[in-house]
Subunit: 611 residues, 2 copies
């Protein structure tokens, strides 16, 4: 889509109030948007479809938690330290720029320069291909090497600084509890792991899910609905045994063909040509790390096609090594092509045991699965024993505390303390600030074989994460059409389940007998819970169709003079503009059937028109 | 419900993970809660029902906007100055108390004192009845008069201070844009008035609606789910002609009987005995200000009954004069009785033209309805004319600006300037800081009769506002039951459409042939989009019923040995624990029918059992 069609698209969206800048009469706030009635209804449909496709189909455990999140949680998760962008300021104008965006913008322009050497071209192309994984020092280096100044004023910019993208606030009257607005919905799911496991009767694997708003204090948001400061996310956390990442339903999706841009392809330096592979082949070849990750990639693909996303404008791009979090095993971004380029809308990551491990360490609460073993297993390990007879008299009121510290020693600690005991007959450790000495009369450490009846482990997490707001924009972009015979007439070819309004009720003229029929049809549709819109304005029928096509309404019921005689109406289909005639009852029941079972019913096999 | 049953209720809710304190493994944050899977599903159902009952039934225009809201918007709306509570601090412990709650708590205790005189009793009762409308000085006075100290330590408390209840944050890299988390969803609807009117083809009345989270930085939240810092709201703004607040569908609801606690009854000082009246009578008698307000009160009542709210524990309480905003015409709170007392869950207010007026004034943008008059109307008004010939030469580049200021003069201003002109031949006004003198050569002001073809007015707003989170707690409270024959067994008697899970699939034992039947039934239910739960654990069937009754699952399908022979199962109903037997297909189609049409189908007229 060219940028001029983009302008037509965005002005249509604004004119029909799919969305609008928030607080517009106050001048607006960049990066904040309202969804107007058709946009909001489309969003409601999208949420509903997401729940059906993921939550219901996989028996996921959906939860809903607050956006206000205390500092400690996000410090542990890594967001306080790492949820940052690098920015630079123009000291003269005060304007801030996001460094990676500024570099991309500048280098993309320089690539078009005729004088650029083949070598420089390749170098710049490599930077553009891999910039998502660059650290601040890398970006600073590039800014200097390419002498990148303010793109508007050409002023020299200040050196890069790191900017945390979370919105800060304080909770309570005293203001002592520092908090952030959550940058994602995932943490609430991790923190509830024990309760989720419990209501899943202790069984693994299972998935939790959450849908809700998240926040990102973008440095200088542009790109309309694609880069916003408050956005709707939907996230799944699939908790899985680290030793078995197979998926019980993988066979059902293994033939799904995906467009995959692997890490290797990106790093090859060649033009980015993704491959088309079935997810079965991709997992088998090791390109995608495991079945569960592959299963969700396939399910995501199926979901997007349901929404009207163009399969030719969708790909999974694997994270580069430097782009991926250190703990992650594999990560693929679901990217959609729009007039703004390829946009990351979905992330599918295998986050290993990172999240549960860090929260467990920080809080001292176990976040483990206990699996009963069918046959007990022998385990050889270091064991520490306390000589209770001497321990109490020696340490008195501190005995309990000291014992509990000793019993929490890791295998590695036990091994080294064993060595100290053997060599020097004693070791020391620090407990509540005091140095405590323990000799081989008080404790003994030895290697012992124990029989394990249960296996305890921290599960791994596979996380499919959806930016629903961005997906909404891509639906707009991919479903936008101009009539072949009249380029000034635009329409949205939304799938039936996505379309915000399903039926337009309209009249051929403003005859005084029409309103009662409009009312009657409205009541039937309302009873069937089918969203409709009445356009009984005094305008030509052609104009009425045209302006309601801009809302992507799939069906039009038109009342005309014949209706007064025989209670028949015309039914018009949006994409083809074909019309058929039938009784009110027949027409509505065809519409109802098609909306409820969009895969089973088609326009052509409907019975209307035969009446 | 006594507080001991409250404990049972709340421990059941926690155990079955309807909700849990957020960030519990981090010690929690008071006033923040997560909804676990059954709570979240119930919330989803509630949102769905709200949309059907209000948005769909009345063709409301639903919009969705951000929670981040700039300072200016909330300054204009009055929240920066007035969305406050009075609090006092214990200077020794640092603890904060909300003053009105502290007074209520203290006086309620003193009322029980045997030594209290009849006069003091009456005085304290009056304070308790009217405290919602007290200002800071009133509260301070009562704190001193009754010598109210810290309820825990008995320390003397600091004087009251006002605390703004909005969470603050800053937007953007520079941090210069001050913002709040919205305290309600209404402002976004007011600011979009022009766009909403436009897509409603300029016609009035119409309603907009919004569902979303709002925030309130409570001083010291207790009372569990009833007093939280982040909560789900649903708000309707019904825009109406101030000269005609009748409602086209009022007749459909006029016979609805409501429990009404009018202002007069509250101020009478007698025990608070509300009256039962039809809304038709209440509007006719003037107790409820107008039809539209009454219409929504009746619709709210119908909605609550659908949700399983006990009609005997619901009332509308009219705001007292001192409690109501100065601009409001009438206001009724929908209150629900719980073990915490009467809880405000819904507000129905006639806010007159306040909101649109203040935003229009602040931004200079017109927020008016233009109504074409069928016959032009004469209007006598003050009109100012500028003598263009002299004006331009006299004021040069400032002429346009000065003229535009003069043309915006109100009728009142014109009247007084006319007087000055007449008496002194001139008047002055301040424009951009300069004093400008205008004499009767430059301008003339006179009373003139004009012909108006359109009527312009700022519509009034009737606002039904719902605290969905509080309603959820009240559903829990009102639907909680103990089995008559066994008080240790509890269940939730949720209506079918409210129940988070509709069907329990269970097995009489863990026979190896059962799992395939469980799978088969699961697939049928999933295809019909009916939420179900499988409990195939190795426990007695009685225990399985009991623990799933705690989730309020209305139907239980049990697979037993007969199922293996003839594909019949038992169907158990939650409230009566009655069981019938039927084929899998019959049982599922009965369930499906009852869920889809709860008002038309009943357990008794179902066909199951006849098989």
């Amino acid at each position: 889509m060219s940028t001029s069609i983009r302008d037509t698209l965005e002005s249509t969206l604004r004119r029909r109030f799919f969305y609008t800048p928030s607080f517009e009469i106050y001048g607006g706030v960049s990066g904040l948007f309202d969804l107007g009635p058709p946009g909001c209804q489309l969003q409601n449909n999208l949420i509903q479809l997401w729940r059906e496709h993921f939550v219901m189909e996989e028996d996921m455990l959906e939860i809903d938690g607050p956006m206000l999140t205390p500092y400690d949680v996000l410090k542990t998760s890594g967001h306080v330290d790492k949820f940052t962008d690098w920015m630079c300021q123009n000291p003269k104008t005060g304007e801030y720029y996001r460094a990676d965006h500024l570099i991309e913008q500048t280098l993309k322009k320089r690539l078009l320069d005729r004088d650029v050497s083949a070598k420089d071209f390749k170098k710049m192309q490599k930077i553009l291909d891999t910039i998502d994984g660059f650290r601040g020092s890398d970006l600073n280096h590039i800014m200097q090497e390419y002498k990148i100044n303010d793109p508007v004023t050409n002023d020299v910019l200040d050196p890069l600084t790191s900017f945390n993208l979370m919105f800060r606030t304080k909770v309570g009257a005293s203001g002592q509890l520092k908090a952030f607005l959550r940058p994602e919905t995932a943490q609430g799911q991790f923190l509830n792991f024990n309760k989720l496991l419990d209501i899943n009767q202790g069984k693994i694997p299972f998935a939790s899910a959450s849908i809700g708003k998240s926040f990102r204090n973008e440095i200088s948001p542009r790109s309309g609905l694609l880069r916003v400061r408050e956005f709707l996310m939907a996230e799944i956390e699939y908790f899985v045994d680290p030793l078995d990442k197979s998926h019980p339903k993988f066979d059902e999706v293994s033939a799904e063909e995906l467009t995959l841009l692997s890490r290797q392809l990106q790093e090859s330096g060649n033009p980015q040509l993704p491959v088309k592979l079935t997810i079965g082949e991709a997992v088998k070849s090791g390109m995608v790390e495991n079945e569960t990750l592959g299963y969700f990639m396939a399910r995501v693909h199926q979901f997007l096609l349901k929404l009207g996303i163009d399969n030719n404008k969708f790909r999974f791009r694997q994270h580069l090594k430097n782009e991926m979090a250190h703990y992650a095993t594999d990560c693929w971004d679901g990217e959609l092509l729009t007039s703004y380029g390829w946009i990351e809308c979905i992330g599918c990551a295998d986050r290993a045991a990172f999240d549960l491990t860090v929260h467990s360490k920080k809080t001292g609460k176990s976040l483990m699965v206990k699996q009963r073993l069918n046959s007990p297993k022998e385990k050889i390990e270091w064991v520490l024993d306390v000589n209770k007879k001497l321990f109490g008299p020696q340490f008195k009121y501190r005995a309990k505390k000291i014992e509990s510290v000793l019993l929490r020693f890791s295998q590695e600690e036990l091994r080294s303390r064993h060595k100290e005991l053997k060599e020097g007959g004693k070791f020391t450790c620090q407990i509540d600030g005091d140095i405590v000495e323990l000799d081989d009369g008080l404790v003994s450490i030895e290697m012992r074989t124990t029989l394990q009846h249960t296996r305890e482990y921290i599960p791994n997490v596979i996380e499919p994460s959806f930016g629903l707001g961005r997906i909404i924009y891509c639906i707009f972009d991919h479903c936008f059409r101009l009539r072949a015979d009249n380029n000034a007439r635009a329409f949205f070819s939304f799938p039936l389940q996505v379309a915000p309004i399903k039926v337009l009720i309209t009249t051929i003229s403003n005859n005084e007998n029409f309103p009662s029929i409009v009312k009657e049809i409205s009541q039937i549709l309302r009873k069937r819970e089918i969203y409709f819109k009445v356009d009984d304005s005094n305008t030509s029928i052609g104009k009425k169709y045209a302006r309601n096509d801009e809302l992507g309404i799939p069906f039009g019921i038109t009342i005309d003079f014949e209706t007064l005689n025989d209670k028949t109406v015309t039914l018009r289909e949006r994409d083809s503009t074909k019309q058929v005639r039938g009784s009110v009852d027949d027409v509505i029941s065809v519409i109802d059937k098609m909306i409820r079972n969009p895969t089973e019913s088609t326009w052509d096999n409907s019975t209307v028109g035969c009446v």
